[in-house]
């Protein structure tokens, strides 16, 4: 609870600093609007890398915004652990500021979520975060979650006219609780630090940064009705599991996840005339252990994840602005399991490893090509259009007994927005997008101990059917922006957006509606 208070006050402080600083320091700048901030970020090559030092090279102007949004999702085209209905109340604020020749940027966000009628997730605040070892049960339940995220990037001014040092930090903390027996309460946090350096050699710039992340998640299970124990399944990849009970003398213990990630990125950018590009690559390694009953720790498993990616971004800025992004990433994870025996010596009483091995592997290849065109490359765009293609191949294997899952998808997307000027410098943004997912390949072959268990028939198989379905998404948004200050520095906008998901074959759909109110400074 104390942590939450600290985060609240830190967030409030950042919001205050960002809004007041930008209002004071922005010298004769044009008014920021959602369209101008979107274009600013599109033009910034280093902003989306892990190297904060490059922010100074991006020459971004001051900006800040404050957003409130309420999001509702509903519909049965979803995975088991998603809610039949989900609502999210969120607030976020973000801002960047030129400071003494360098640049600082910060963001704070808070979301409060309610998920109705979820299935097969007893303990995980985010069951899709790449952790195969967790607990599921058959009881339909609501989930309540809230998360806080603090991000900051700081870049120095050029030192000796050549070097820029920077640091990027991120602190995320989440809490969540399942609302029906077997119920759970969980806490999750990550802290990420990315120190970096960039060097300029004429039109050439190179950068290098390190990444370190520490992660902890703790989950406890309990029953409100102490008279009735609840069966649960501790899954460990591709539908394999062991049975356990919540309640009674042999109740499932607390699970503690603790992980570290290290890695590094390199960047190279070059600018010639009105064309700029940045080439970056990275390698990150994460190891996360899962133990149960921390007072007598028993290893439930370990995940070892290797991530490699290469990205190329090219921009051309003249009267109009073009941006091309190409990326290729590989993610190889190994699920490690242990054979342990209890050393029952009276004074010792601890679990001892006698064997460990990689039991499962999870490999993902992701390739993205994305192009955006902005009509008008000054402060705001007049209209924009974009298209993308994304190939993603997930190839998962449980080695012994052998089970296999493969999902190969191709996504195509096209989007457009128009920024219509109105009287008194007001603007209306109309946007639409269309995404089509084509499943190239998808199968799940389970050869484990119990093919008739609910974990297979009611959880894994329906989720696989969802993953292999072709679907299309139609989205649209309307945003109205107006000036709210005499100095033309502050603006306010309201936004309504809707996304509709529909499988090409079969029943079901999913609708997401977002209502937002925001301010720019």
């Amino acid at each position: 609870m104390r942590k939450v208070k600290y985060i609240y006050w830190a967030g409030a402080l950042i919001m205050t600093l960002i809004t007041t600083n930008s209002a004071v320091a922005q010298e004769a700048a044009k008014q920021n609007s959602p369209a101008s901030i979107e274009l600013l970020k599109a033009k910034s090559l280093w902003f989306n890398t892990n190297n904060a030092a490059g922010l100074t090279l991006d020459k971004m102007h001051d900006y800040s915004d404050l957003n409130f949004q309420y999001k509702i999702k509903s519909g049965d085209f979803k995975k088991s652990h998603d809610g039949e209905k989900e609502s999210t109340l969120g607030v976020s604020t973000e801002g960047g500021l030129k400071l003494s020749g360098g640049y600082v940027w910060g963001k704070f966000s808070y979301n409060n979520e309610t998920l109705r009628n979820t299935l097969y997730n007893t303990t995980m605040i985010n069951p899709e975060r790449g952790m195969p070892f967790y607990t599921v049960d058959k009881n339909m339940s609501d989930w309540k979650r809230q998360n806080y995220k603090l991000e900051m990037k700081v870049a120095s001014k050029p030192l000796w006219d050549k070097y820029i040092v920077g640091i990027q930090g991120e602190y995320v903390t989440s809490t969540g609780a399942k609302q029906v027996d077997p119920r759970s309460v969980g806490y999750f946090y990550t802290i990420t630090v990315k120190p970096g350096i960039a060097a300029m050699f004429g039109k050439h710039s190179v950068g290098v940064n390190m990444v370190y992340q520490n992660l902890v998640e703790e989950t406890r299970t309990t029953n409100s009705n102490g008279q009735l124990s609840q069966d649960v399944y501790v899954v460990k990849g591709l539908g394999n599991f062991y049975s356990a009970v919540v309640g009674g003398l042999q109740s499932l213990g607390q699970f503690v996840y603790s992980g570290n990630k290290i890695g590094g990125d390199i960047q190279y950018s070059y600018g010639i005339s009105d064309i700029n590009f940045i080439l970056s690559g990275n390698y990150h390694l994460r190891v996360e252990d899962v133990i149960s009953s921390p007072t007598k720790p028993k290893k439930e498993g370990t995940i070892k994840e290797e991530m490699m990616s290469a990205n190329l971004t090219v921009t051309k800025s003249c009267d109009n602005f073009h941006r091309l992004d190409l990326s290729y990433s590989v993610n190889n994870s190994s699920g490690i399991e242990y054979v342990q025996v209890l050393d029952n010596t009276y004074e010792v009483q601890r679990w001892v490893d006698v064997y460990s091995s990689v039991r499962s592997t999870y490999n993902q290849i992701d390739m993205v090509a994305k192009y955006d065109f902005f009509r008008g490359a000054a402060h705001e765009y007049k209209w924009k259009a974009g298209l993308f293609a994304n190939y993603r191949d997930n190839d998962d294997l449980y080695i012994l007994p052998k089970s296999k899952m493969r999902v190969e998808n191709l996504f195509f997307g096209i989007n457009a927005k128009t920024n219509i000027p109105l009287k008194l410098a007001n603007r209306l943004i109309l946007g639409a997008d269309f995404i089509y997912k084509n499943n190239i390949n998808g199968y799940y072959i389970y050869k484990g101990a119990d093919a008739t268990s609910p974990v297979i028939t009611q959880f894994m198989t329906p989720d696989m059917q969802y993953s292999r379905q072709d679907y299309y998404k139609i989205g649209g948004e309307v945003s109205y922006f107006t000036n709210i200050s005499r100095s033309n520095k502050s603006g306010m906008f309201v936004k309504v957006a809707a996304d509709y998901y529909k499988p090409v074959e079969g029943e079901g759909n999913r609708m997401q509606t977002t209502i937002g109110l925001g301010f720019t400074f």
Binding site: M210, Y212, Q227, Y242, G259, V287, S334, N344, Y355
Partner: protein, 403 residues
Amino acid sequence: MKNIYKILIVAVLALFTAASCQQFEDVSKIGEIESLSVVVKANLDLGSAPAPNGFNVKLINYAERYEVNTTMGANGTVTVEGIIPGIYTITLSSEKAQDGFTYNYSGNVVNVDVVTNNKQITVNVGASKSGALVLKEVYYCGSKTPTGGSYFRDQFYEIYNNSETVQNVRGLCIAILNPLTATANLPVWPGDDASKFVYASTIWQVPTDVDYPLNPGESIIIAQMADDHKKSNLNPNSPVNLLSAEFETFINTTSLIQNNPAINMVMAFWPSPTPQWLTTVFGGAFVIYYPSVAINPANFISPVGSTSKNYKIPIDEVVDALELVGNANQVQLKRMPAVLDAGAATVGGTYLSVSVGRKVKETKTDGRVILYDTNNSSEDFEVLNPPVIRRYGAKAPSWNTWK
């Protein structure tokens, strides 16, 4: 200024390295799993019993719910391939009929790790004639009341004469062993001969005042409370009426407990009695035995590091044994020595109104049944719904005049 930057960079690097180094080192050399072979050997200690023709061999990895079955020839060795590395219970069993007797051969090793290829595991195999008195059906998990409450006074234990000769249950004891529920934290018992005993938390004894003969095919019911549990003031949802039980573990009357027609058992050992003999609804480990010397509660024993009072029972005196656990996954948490019970039975939950009972091996021409008794409850028992006393035509003894 340059030095300060250098120191900062080195300090940050050192911090990162120290924080993550051990965790990364631990997983750096872990390779992919490979299946193993294991060599199982039988070491026979058969006494006067004839040698069996071979064995059924079962390897169970309870954590993985993985089971391999094979057979072993008369040479007493078999190599089993395709084993997933893990912790196994390996059971050898056989049966042979000779000279009018049925001999059971069984032996097992429990919680043995198979993590290296071609590991040799020796299983000591003993022989016994099928037991005369067996625990036939045990209803331990309790039932739910109409309002959703938990009811546990309707527990019963049925003991059956599975032999061809008359047995006398006079002085027969039923004991629940320590620990009461399945757990990985087994107590450590003092003494070099600790493994020759089992350790009871509570012992009840059939009175020794008169004989209580039991003919083949007859059974006795030991009830926690020998009442009609379907009565409105007890639990109308209870599956059993135990008014005809032969014995009950009566202590004293309360608003719910009365002294029923059943004969009161003798509380032979119970250091801290409560108003009723409630055994754990998660599944206890039970033995029935005839003590060779009178039970003296003052001769208690405590496990190392504990002050709990328990009573030593020589394994040689045990007539039958039954290990019960909370769910199938807990079979690996065995408390009972394998020589008494190589497996475990379970109803898989609590307050389910179901029982465990022995399977029928054969039915004689007169309708009398012979029940399985291989000293392996995983094999011999099944879940029965609802619990029924004197199932399969078992008869009450003639001295039960209130049946």
